[in-house]
């Protein structure tokens, strides 16, 4: 479990998206082509080029008022991390900082982590055939810097610090919000998947922010992990071979696609 975590206080998020762009800036990620479909939320999903998105969700509140919820979304760096369990190549590991990271050298591009993640935050790069996601700015952490999203956040909606201190702060904030009439205020990420390194203070149900109410490691991932773990090496070779064959096929398809344009 990570000792240093981020607390995301959604009640302080004003949707400036400093974090969204700072993430791209620091991690040197290209912009994606998006379309406006009626919501401020863009890009719509995570990808190999998008590790962090800001949710914009409108809901009816009390007295005819509207609640416009905004929150930074991204990899939760779970304690019970489905992606780690799903990875046959041992490419996903827990760092000394407690973060969950993908070693792209070891990644064989099987995509299992992408489908296993209960938060759907892992992207897949078709050019390199690698899975990619938020690194918790591990390179910055190791050098005494906070994650780019936390540093950039103007209002303190994203703060980085000691897990215990931030849990206490989160509890305090929930009390404050309840006292201010936000009866549904809650903490998300203490118990979910045995605790996440992205802890949320929410004013309302998690689904209203685009977070799963009860995130779980998929059953098949658990079975896969329990049965095949001892045979990992074999699995890696087998899967890698399978992918190699599969990849050549995919390439042909993609080339076909681009010629259609």
């Amino acid at each position: 479990m990570a000792q240093s975590i981020c607390l995301i206080d959604t009640d302080k998020c004003m949707g400036c998206r400093g974090c969204q762009v700072a993430c791209k800036q620091w991690n040197q990620l290209p912009a994606e082509q998006t379309v406006f479909d009626g919501s401020y939320e863009n890009p719509k999903r995570f990808s190999a080029d998008t590790y962090l998105r800001v949710a914009f969700r409108e809901h009816d509140g009390n007295d005819g008022r509207v609640n416009w919820y905004m929150a930074k979304l991204g990899c939760m760096h779970c304690t019970d991390a489905a992606c780690m369990q799903a990875c046959p190549a041992g490419a996903i590991f827990r760092s000394d900082e407690g973060t969950v990271n993908i070693d792209e050298v070891k990644c064989i591009g099987c995509n299992y982590c992408v489908t296993a993640c209960p938060f759907q935050v892992i992207g897949f790069d078709r050019l390199t055939n690698k899975a990619r996601k938020c690194t918790f700015c591990i390179d910055r952490l190791e050098n005494g810097l906070q994650p780019a999203c936390a540093q950039v956040c103007p209002t303190g909606s994203i703060t980085f610090g000691d897990r215990r201190e931030l849990i206490a702060k989160a509890m305090n904030r929930v009390d404050q919000l309840k006292a201010a009439g936000k009866a549904g205020a809650n903490i998300y990420g203490i118990d979910e998947v045995d605790g996440t390194a992205m802890l949320y203070v929410l004013a309302d149900n998690p689904e209203k922010y685009g977070l799963p109410a009860d995130p779980q490691v998929p059953v098949q991932t658990r079975i896969w992990n329990a049965i095949f773990k001892p045979l990992r090496l074999l699995v890696v070779v087998a899967v890698a071979f399978g992918l190699w064959a599969n990849r050549s096929q995919t390439r042909e398809i993609e080339q076909g696609k681009s010629s259609e344009k």
Binding site: S4, C16, R17, G18, Q20, V21, A22, Q25, W26, N27, Q28, L29, P30, A31, D49, S95, D96, E97, N101, I102, D103, E104, V105, C107, L127, T128, K130, R132, T135, I138, D139, R140, L141, E142, N143, G144, L145, Q146, A148, Q151, V152, C153, P154, F160, G161, D162, E165
Partner: protein, 200 residues
């Protein structure tokens, strides 16, 4: 915990792991394990954010005269290292990342003087000397023909030295010194149609 760029490399425990992990999870799968933090051997230069009126401090990390990163200045009393989405996007003014994650110059930045002749359907590239000379000639031609030297006001001849035939828009994007010289030059030309985006 209070972490900022100022506490750079102070966390000894954290750096111990650097040798094995740095580069992992970064964009290039082939990143060398010993690759230092990408802003480590850069020059830090202070600039003020080019967008709104808050005036946030921005640090540009420059290597070999080229910007490689731009983020909030932790020492700045107003933004204390934070920025919004526009403030975080400065790097894109110079460079954009291609699909492989390699930086390339922003393809839309203007890098040459462009000129469009009357009736033409495209621009042609020109050099500075030609452009400055030609613009100065246009200004002079218009000014010489349209300058009103005197006006009769309440029966009295008054020197007015103005032209209503040239418009001059300065900019809130430009510095104080630039706007000062804009003002000097515009008034020397007799321009009274002066404005900028403060009104818009």
């Amino acid at each position: 915990m209070d972490l900022s760029r100022r506490s750079f490399l102070k966390l000894a425990g954290a750096t111990a792991a650097a040798a094995t992990l740095t580069g992992v999870g970064l964009r290039k799968a082939s990143a060398s394990p010993s690759e230092p933090l990408r802003i480590k051997y850069t020059k830090e230069l202070h600039t003020v954010c080019t967008f709104c009126g808050v005036g946030c401090g921005v640090i540009c990390n420059v290597r070999d005269g080229v910007i490689v990163n731009a983020d909030g200045d932790p020492d700045h009393p107003v933004n204390e290292g934070t920025l919004c989405s526009k403030g975080s996007a400065h790097y894109n003014i110079s460079y954009v990342y291609d699909e492989k994650g390699n930086p390339k110059p922003n393809p839309k930045r203007l890098t040459h003087v462009l000129y469009r002749a009357p009736g033409a359907s495209s621009y042609e590239t020109k050099d500075w000397d030609w452009a400055l000379e030609e613009i100065a000639k246009r200004i002079k031609d218009t000014r010489d023909r349209t300058l009103v030297e005197t006006e009769t006001v309440n029966g009295q001849q008054v020197t007015v030295n103005r032209t209503n035939s040239i418009c001059w828009l300065g900019s809130a994007f430009c510095t104080d010194e630039e706007n000062y010289l804009f003002h000097k030059m515009a008034r020397s030309m007799g321009v009274i149609n002066v404005d900028h985006c403060a009104r818009l």
